[in-house]
Symmetry: C2
Subunit: 110 residues, 2 copies
Amino acid sequence: MSNMGYAGHMELHEPELREVPVTAVLAALADDVRLQIVRALAEGGEYACGTFEFGVSKATRSHHLKVLREAGLTRTRVAGTSRYVRLRREELERLYPGLLGAVLAAPARA
Amino acid sequence: MSNMGYAGHMELHEPELREVPVTAVLAALADDVRLQIVRALAEGGEYACGTFEFGVSKATRSHHLKVLREAGLTRTRVAGTSRYVRLRREELERLYPGLLGAVLAAPARA
DNA sequence: TCCAATGTTCGAGTATCGTCGAACCAACGG
DNA sequence: CCGTTGGTTCGACGATACTCGAACATTGGA
């Protein structure tokens, strides 16, 4: 036990969306892998991190999920060894109405 | 004669918006300086490049305007020694309805 | 208790981005 | 014809981003 520095049992950093610069939100969406994750999240409700297999390593996937989370776009629930991620649709829609829809409306493989 | 053919020396690269990956559009908007430019363009109609003074050199400004143009977000008209830039609102609205509004609705200095 | 499964973090490599000054070019006005 | 004006392009630099393998932490089960 007595190990600090590892965030396994610490609070996840999930900022309020309004405190995230809009450029950070846009930058979070401006990546192919993350956009695929967002598309998948927009389909249903909650997904385990491991669900996302988009041709990147799990280290990279973890990185992208962190970027999305710290941009205020997703919320993560810890359950056992798994982490369940979901899109913060309502907040997103309230602060940037139309943004998510516009992004998702774009052709998937432009 | 046509001012397009040989008015300058080079055609400006202004792609069709639908041929630009959505990630490129988002990336173009995910920069503070460019967002300021877009905000200014959204106010009125046409601005000379030199109008934009956002604390960057003219080389940097030229770079950012190029990024916006090649992302399909702006159109540029050459007139004499000046270049007039305007936002491609209609096309943008048609392809990504709500996107521009959502971005512009964001607080200017988040 | 030991091991497998799920994620995170670290370190490093590569690539891309934002920025600038300097050089350049094309167009206009004496 | 020459200089000025408005912009672009060319290196170069530092910073950031994406990617991976390896090592680690936490949980849960055999």
